[in-house]
Every structure is written in C-alpha cells, then in structure tokens.
Symmetry: C3
C-alpha cells in the first residue's frame, strides 16, 4: 500500500511538473485542476491584485506566453518552453538586442554547480533575467543577442486552494503547503502532491473526532493573505497544525518547531519522528524559511510545526533544475513523507488524557488478562498484561497518550489496542482532549 | 549499637524463617506473634474472604497440614515440612498417583540455577504443584509417583498488622512492608524484621513531632485491602511514606521513586541515600514491583518512595531457596537497612522551613561565634562560623533543611547542631513544616 | 578612549594609595576628597559610633598618628608611615617594651609568602599588632623592642559616600563598592576608582531612562548601615544592582550571582560577560565574600550581582602588600573593569520587552530593507534584513532585548541599531520595561 501511494503521488507530480507555477498566474490554476482530480472538494479562492493584506499588497498577476534568447548564430537558447526555470520569475516583457557584455547583467548561473539552472525570482522589483547552466554560459560567444520575453503583469488575482473536512467537532487540525514553485520537485511539487493525497485519505476516514483545514497557498504572500481573512477563526479552532514542505526525497526526516517550541504539534511531531527514524533532524526556529514564519508570528501564534524530509536549503539540488523527480524525489521518498504525516494526524486524532475508573491496580486475572501461575522470575506476567498495567498507572488525567507512551518508551500507536481494551473493560474514562 | 541491632534483627529473622507465610493462613499469624514480642503495640486486623476491596476480592484462607511426593522407590521427596518452598503457594488438596511424564507438568525447577528451589504461587487460579532443584529433578526415574497435598482453602480471613505511634500532631509518616513470603530471606523476611525494630525505636523516641503509621500486609491484596479501608484518612494525614523491601543484604542501597517523583519522600530518600552511599542505585517508576504500585496509583497518590538494598528481581538468589539468612541476608546488611531508614525518618521529623529573624548577616562576634582577628587569608573564620553564616543565608522561609543542606553540600544531619544554635541565639523562627 | 580611561583611573588610584582607609577615620575622608574631584556630586553621610544598625553597632572611630617598633639596635621598623599595612587595623594605643619572645605574639607574617606584608584587622576585639614580611621577621634578633602605637579609638562617625543621578523615572540601578581597605590595589582601590569614573560618565549621559544610586561604603558594617537607613526605598526602586570589587587586574572576568540567581542583574551580567570574554568565571553564592552578603540576605533580597575581574581570595597577592598598582592593577585592567560595567549599565538602560505592531512578517521591500532579487541560495537576503526579521519574530512582548539576543546568538548591543530601525519604521511599540 505504501509503495502504491508513493507511485500515485509521484505520477501526480509528473503531471504538474511542467506548469509555470508562481505567486500568481495560469500555472497555479492548472496545478489546482490536477489536484482537484484527486480530491474534488478542493475549493479555489481568489484575492485581487492591489488588496492590502496586513503589511503587504497582493501583486499583479504574471503570465508568460514565451521567453527565449536568440544567440549570434541564430540559435534559440534559454527557452522558457523547454524549462520554465530559464526565465526569472515575474520578469517584465522585453524585446531588445544586447551585446554579450550587457546581456551578462541579466544572466544567472552557479559556477560551483556548472550543470544546474538556478531558480531566481524578482517579485517585488520590476526586473527581468534568464537563468542557465554555467557550462552553457561559458560557451556563449560575443556578438548580438536578441532577448524575447512575452509576459504580462497586470491586475488580476492571487489564487489559493482550501479543503475543509468536517468532523464531529469544530476543533481543527491545520495543514498548509505551497504551490508557487515551478519545475522543482522536492521544493515544491512534493508538498501539494502529498497533501492532496492526505486530504483524500482524511475525507474517507470514518468517525473523525476533529475537522481538518488544508490549504494550498503561494508561499509568504499566500499564507499572509489567508491569515488576513481567516485569523480569528483559525486562532479559535486550530489546536494542532503542520506546515508541509520538501516531503519527497529519500534522505532523512526532519522537523522545525513552532516558535513557542512547546505546542501540541511539536509534541506530536517529535514523538512520531523519533519513533519512525531515531536519527531524524531537529531544527530550531532560527532555521525557519517557509510559511511557519507567518503562522507562528507574534500575535498569530498558531501551533504550527513544520514536517520535512530534507529541509529547504539543506540539500545540494535545492532551488535548481537538479531538484527533479528522478534523482531527488522518488515514489519511496514521497511514500515516506505521506506515511509520517498520516501517523502524525492519527496521533492528533487519537490523543486524549485518560483517567482510570478504579482505585489501585485492576484485578486482571478475573478479566482473563493476567497469567495465573507466577513463577520465580516474575516474568510470567506477559507483555500484554504488563502493557495494560503500565498504561493504567499513568491514566491519572494529567498524562495524554503521548506522555504515557514516552513514560513507557513505546511508540504511541502501540497504545491504541491497549486503550481499546481498557475502554472495553471500563477501566478508563476519557478526560479532556487537549 | 549498629552491629547489635543487626544481630537482633537477624535473630528475629531466624525465628520466623520456617513459618509458611502466604496471602493468608497460620504462617502469617505465627509471624505476627513473633513480631509482637518485639513491639507489643502491633495490632492484628482481619478482613473476611469474599469481601470486595476496590477491583479485587479477598481470597479464601489457605492452610497446609502436609505435602510431599513418594517416589517409585518409596522415598519421600519435596517435603513441605522440610522446606515450604517445595509446595506451590495456594495449592489445592491432592492425593493421587502420576506417571513421571504426567507429574512433570506440575513440577517447577530452574535449569540455569540447578541447586535452587524456585518460589511459585497460584493465588487466583485453582491449581497445584511442587518446586524442586533442577539437579534433583534430573535424577527422578520413571515410575509411579504418589502426590499428597493436605491443604485447605476455605472462607476465612486475610490478616494484616498495624502500629500507630502518636506524636504531637496528626500528621503521619507512613511505613509499609509485607509478610506474605515463606522461607525467603531478603524478599521478604528482612522487611518486617527491620520494620518492627524501627517501630520499637520510634515508640521509645521522645517528643515526636509527627505520628507514625506502620503496616505489615500481604503484598498487593493486603495493601489494597488496607487502602480500601483507610484511604481517606491516609490522604489527609500522610505527608511522607516509605515502602520497605529487601533491606537485609549487604550489596548496595537503592531507591525507587514515588510515581510523581517529586514528593517530600523522594527528596528525603535521595538526600539520605546519596550521603550514605554515593553509589546508591536510583530506579525509575517502570522498575516498580511491590506495594508502591498501589500507594502511588492514580487517585491514591500517596507520597510513598521505596527504600531497598538490592531491588527485588535484581539479585540472582531472588525468589529461590538461595535467598537465605546465611549467604544473602546478614546482620550487617540488616543493620545497614535499619540505619538508612532511621536516618530517613529522622530527616522527616527534623525538617522545616526556617526563617531568619534578623535583617542582614548577624553580628556573630558579640555572640562569641566569630573569631575576632581576621588574618590575610580570611580563613580565620572557622568552620562553625562559616556553617552558621551559610545556613542563615538560606533561612528565607522558602528552603527547608534539605534544600539548605543541598545548597551548602553537606548531609542534613550536620545541620541539626547549627539549627540548635540558631534557635538558642533567637536568630531563626520556625516556618511551615511541609 | 579605553586606554585613556584606564590611565585616568590608575592615576586616581595612585593618589589615594597612601591613605589609611579603614571602617572609619581620616583615611576614608581623604579618599572621599579625591573622589569628589572626579565627581563633585558625591555626598558624604555619617553615622555615629554606638548606633544600632540591625544586629550590629557602629564601632568607635579609629585614627592613627604614628606607629612603629624600635628594635634592639635602635632602628625603627614596621613604620606605619612607610606602609599602613604594618599596623593591625583598629590597633589600640600602646607604648611599652617587649622581649622578642613576647613581641612575637603580636606579629603577623606569612611564611609561604616571605616578602609579603599581610593585611590584618581586629575590628571587634580590642587588640593590637604589627604585620611584616616573614623574611624581615626571621632577621629579628633577641633583645628589647619598644612598641609605639599612637592611635585613638573614640566616639565619632562612620562615613559613607553616595551619588544619586536622577533619570526620567524613579526606578534605579544600584552600584556599590567599598572604601575600607588601606594600601591594597585590586582589593580595594580598584572598586571606588572605577566606580567614581562610571558615575562621571553616567552624570554626563543624556536622556537617562532610569536613576542611578551609587554608594561607597566600608565593607559589611557600611552596607548594613546603609541598608538600615534606606532599605524601604531600595526595595521599592532598585530593579538591578551590581556590587563592584577587584576590577583592576588583568587576569580574567568573573561574576558572582545574586542569592536568587535569576534576577535581571544576573541575566544582564551573564549575557555581557560571556559576550566580552567567553572564558569568564561564574562563581556560586557559596563563593560570596563582600557586600552582596547583605544586599541579598533573606528579607533584603535586592537584585545585586557582583562583577569582578579576579575574585577576592582567588589571586596570590590578595590581602598582602603584593596587591599593588604595579604588578597587579594596571591601566589596562582598570579599563577592562570600567568597560564591562559600562556595557552592563547600558544593557540595563536599553532593555525592554518590544512588541510588534504588525501581524505576520513585515514587507521589508517597500521599506528598502530587503534585497529585491532572490537567487538560488536564498542568501541574497542580507545580514541587515535577516537581523531585522530575526529580531521582529521575537517581539512578542514576552522576550526582552537580552532574550532576543540570546535567541539569535548575538551580543545585545548589536540589536540596538536594529531596534532603532524598527522604531523608526513604526514596526514595534515598547512594552513593559522589567
């Protein structure tokens, strides 16, 4: 099943790979259309260019018809149609000739990564440019270069997607990922692709205790716009949340805490990650870089922890054409990202503060839960009895399931069947949930 | 005096050694008769078989007249009269012949400890069996074996002992030990023998600030029965308590915290033990195994820490005939157990939160407590003055004697004479006690 | 400027070097006269001999006209006029002849430091004595020695100095140093000399948020007398305070915490010291030895941390004639002491709990505070932008400047220009100050 889910997510990634995603524009809408095929309850919202959202202004909508350079020999290079990374994001329209020397001021390459086309944007200053591999750049000969950028930058809309899955209560688990990166696989085709499949699983899940709010926004400006509209109800309802980014590579698991470090989300994330991969990397708030910056800003203070495999900026292919669906992002890597998030959501859903209904230890023998002959080693007490007793000793109403699992040093999911028995045997009652 | 007390306790141990202690029965009463000879204020209480105590039922009373096996050659083996460990605790009456193959299902031995007779019980499922050394078992020849168990299991009583020593206030220090183990020395002849001598010392102690409640119960069912009757007043009055087990061997000192880890009992136990033996072993709640399981259960939550030398289950002779009064439990080991408990009780009795009566440091010179010529090293200030000043600087009403001793890195008992001086000099007043 | 200030302080030290400072007497007044030349707002207060101050009595005033010994050859030795350390502090008047054997009981020297004249006092028991180098002592020949001490001990006054520098509020930073040591350089000519220059700098500082209370007292009895008179308003107004001692040598920086360890003064001291010298020594309350003993006594509990270079008692020349202005105390050492205290006071003055005025991150680009083209490394974000964003993320009203600096791992003084920008840009408002 896990391999299967990895392949499905990977296939979706391949479909949305070529679209020219940015803060705004058609690439974003095309991406949403593909995501909707997985979960049709995805709703698309729009915010008009020029609208003030907190300290920011929604930018103009950017679209590109074509963009390329004709070299002195008449050959078309840096063709946007072949790779949308060639064009600097939010480039203004240009049609002009340049000597190589002058053109160079508008070219971006990375000498240390000679085969990588870098990812460059200029959202908030009117500018333009082309990105190319340094190897290719070095071969450019002097002469006249013709630059063609047929782009438009005009009043339009910023779009974001939202799924609200209702559970038995209004209390919400919040998931956020971003959809503004063009042909880059881990950062960030992996996030929206894993997240739409999580939403599909959640929709089908039976008997949900909580509601789930899932958003697909352009990074920074999108989460700010979303918060600008929804902050009141978010602060009221969200008790746990996770920012999802770079969840498709196969290298490690990592986690970046919420700003306050001690939210329920942090507790869940740390418990799940260490029980899935004891070598998971724990970052600090100073390593932040994505939408957790807004969700955890002073005065916003949502309990949002960031779940990643390799952190943005921490892997060599980051923000270049090398971050692709072959070498970096794999079905297995995506399945791992999906799996860890599923486990995290399950923990949020299962968690509560159990309280024993009886005083002193229970008489397990009468419930056929205890071996009846006790030998010299005392070890006749079997694993199940021990787990029941160990769980119950912490059911004092001040330890939640994660605390209990930590006390007895097991993953919390090994407690689920024990809790089921304790409920059936009427040995515990449910206390507060968070 | 210490050696002396060790010998006295050891002699008592030898007297009660042969009695067939169990959850119930004559062996328990015989044991109480011997303990009463040390402290006649020991009161015996009884609870009827069949009574519900929290989640449990008081079991039938078990008594044994005789029990043995006649081997094919007519020789009597596994004779209960020679060693009560031979008979599985709570064995039902049997009189029948078995082929060796069939008998084997009722025999218990430990291949890895070929000379040890194991200790086995079957309290809550009607069953029977014999225990023997594996060496002996291997020599058994095929043929007919006659099994004789003349035991009775019928409505009767569970007995427990209780001593209440009144002090100036109703606040109580609680001590608990258990009396349900047959001929086993450290676990558990040592506990009741050390504890009855502690009660004798406490009875004779003058001017007791607190009262002392001391119980001798069969393990688990006994402490549950006791709690069932007394929990309300226990929760009201007990401010510190200690479970006493395995206090007779000479190997180490150890301590198992209360479930909440931070009670006054834990604070006292850790301070005393580290100042008596810096290598004492500190266990965790997950290592629990005796009546602390009930006293610290959720909803009971008494401040009970467990004081031991070698923890039950941690030493090789545990729960076998090798746990004897020669090789494992010694007068010296018992004296050590007695001494550490005495120190712990003294700390509980002495402890309070002193508050200075003066502002700034005192003028010790006018009280003849300070050297009058101060030389170049500043070290003319002698140890006594230094200790007075160091103590007084922490007499702020928020540090108790243990806190102060920890701050100045000495055992709390070295503070007692200083506190005496501070009181005589009217430099401190007593604040709250706990 | 720093070297300059070191030289100025050192010159002042040379001027006050020869005065016979003690708990009382003319040497103290002469010292104050020199300090007044640096800061004329220094006020001298007096407390009469015999007055009760808490547990103590103000001693008689001690003055010395001359003191010496005539050896058997008629040579004058141990001449108080050459070195005031020769005479035991508070020696009573004596004029008598002694055999060497009898004289020896009144002589003090240090065999392990044969060239050092020790510093000895007998404040509270009427006594007398002479101090000399052990080398000199060994050469004394038997014969008659004539002792002359022309001292007076009579009702008079204990004097202390006080400077109050008013700021915009009544909240005060408190500085205390002591002026009772005779010709000893680090302990303690350095303290009053550095402190008087700090007071001069503070007086000239513009726009002071707080007031500054600076006292020059004889150790112990002086601080007790000062507290006896002022404790109420001190407890009301002082929010941070520092005891200043041994701030003239060039060996290390060190800090002794207030008794409660967690006052704002401790927080400031630790932050400044570790950012000036990561190898600074942190002492514990058990190492205390000066007026912090009174300021932090139970019931007084002022937030006073002690700032030192080499702690009293920790260096080999301590309390001997070797603690001089040549080998131990240097202009560079004094400048270092001055500098660290200046930084500490600045931190106390600048500190507050900033609170962001905006929700989510600010749009730095519109304020020309953010690079506009973002390249592949994401590192186009320059240091200033990063520092602004990093600072603002902690402006939640619950982190003061020191907390923020600790979170982003820089010295707090690197935040001052950032805070200036944030204020100019109206991105923060000031919250509570402590």
């Amino acid at each position: 099943m896990t391999d299967n889910i990895g392949l499905k997510i990977h296939n979706l990634g391949k479909k949305i790979w070529p679209f020219n995603r940015s803060l705004t524009g058609e690439g974003v809408l095309k991406t949403f259309n593909e995501l909707k095929k997985i979960n049709s309850t995805l709703k698309i919202h729009k915010v008009a260019s020029g609208k003030k959202v907190f300290d920011w202004i929604i930018p103009d909508e950017w679209n590109v018809k074509e963009a390329y350079i004709i070299d002195p020999s008449g050959k078309k290079i840096c063709d946007f149609k072949k790779n949308n990374l060639h064009l600097v994001g939010y480039s203004i329209p240009v049609e002009a000739e340049f000597a190589l020397k002058d053109l160079n001021e508008y070219l971006y390459s990375i000498p240390e990564k000679p085969n990588a086309v870098p990812y460059v944007t200029s959202y908030y200053k009117k500018s333009w440019g082309f990105c190319l591999a340094d190897n290719q750049r070095k071969k450019l000969k002097s002469g006249k270069y013709k630059v063609v950028i047929k782009s438009t930058l005009k009043k339009g809309f910023l779009h974001y997607g939202e799924i609200l899955i209702k559970g038995r209560t209004n209390k919400e688990v919040f998931l956020s990922t971003y959809i503004c990166h063009p042909s880059l696989a881990n950062n960030e085709i992996s996030g929206p692709c894993v997240t739409i499949f999580l939403s599909k699983w959640l929709k089908e899940l039976k008997n949900k205790k909580y509601s789930y709010r899932i958003v697909f926004v352009p990074e920074t400006i999108g989460s700010i716009a979303y918060l600008n509209k929804n902050i009141k109800k978010m602060k009221k309802n969200i008790f746990a949340g996770f920012a999802i980014t770079c969840v498709g590579d196969d290298r490690c698991y990592s986690y970046l805490p919420s700003r306050n470090k001690k939210s329920l989300s942090d507790k869940i994330a740390k418990h799940v990650l260490k029980n899935i991969d004891k070598n998971f990397k724990q970052y600090n708030w100073e390593d932040r870089g994505s939408d957790e910056r807004q969700y955890c800003a002073p005065g916003v203070d949502l309990p949002v922890a960031t779940i990643m495999r390799s952190r943005p900026g921490s892997y060599p292919e980051y923000h270049t054409s090398l971050d692709n669906l072959v070498d970096v992002v794999t079905p297995k890597g995506l399945a791992g990202g999906f799996n860890v998030l599923q486990k995290i959501i399950e923990v949020a859903n299962q968690n509560f503060y159990p309280l024993t209904k009886i005083i002193c230890e229970p008489f397990l023998a009468k419930r056929n839960l205890y071996p009846t002959v006790k030998d010299k080693s005392g070890s006749a007490i079997d694993n199940l009895s021990r787990l029941i007793i160990d769980t119950l000793t912490w059911c004092d109403g001040s330890h939640d399931l994660i605390d209990i699992a930590e006390e007895i040093r097991i993953p919390v999911w090994k407690l689920y069947p024990i809790i089921k028995i304790l409920r059936e045997q009427k040995l515990i009652k449910s206390e507060k949930f968070f």
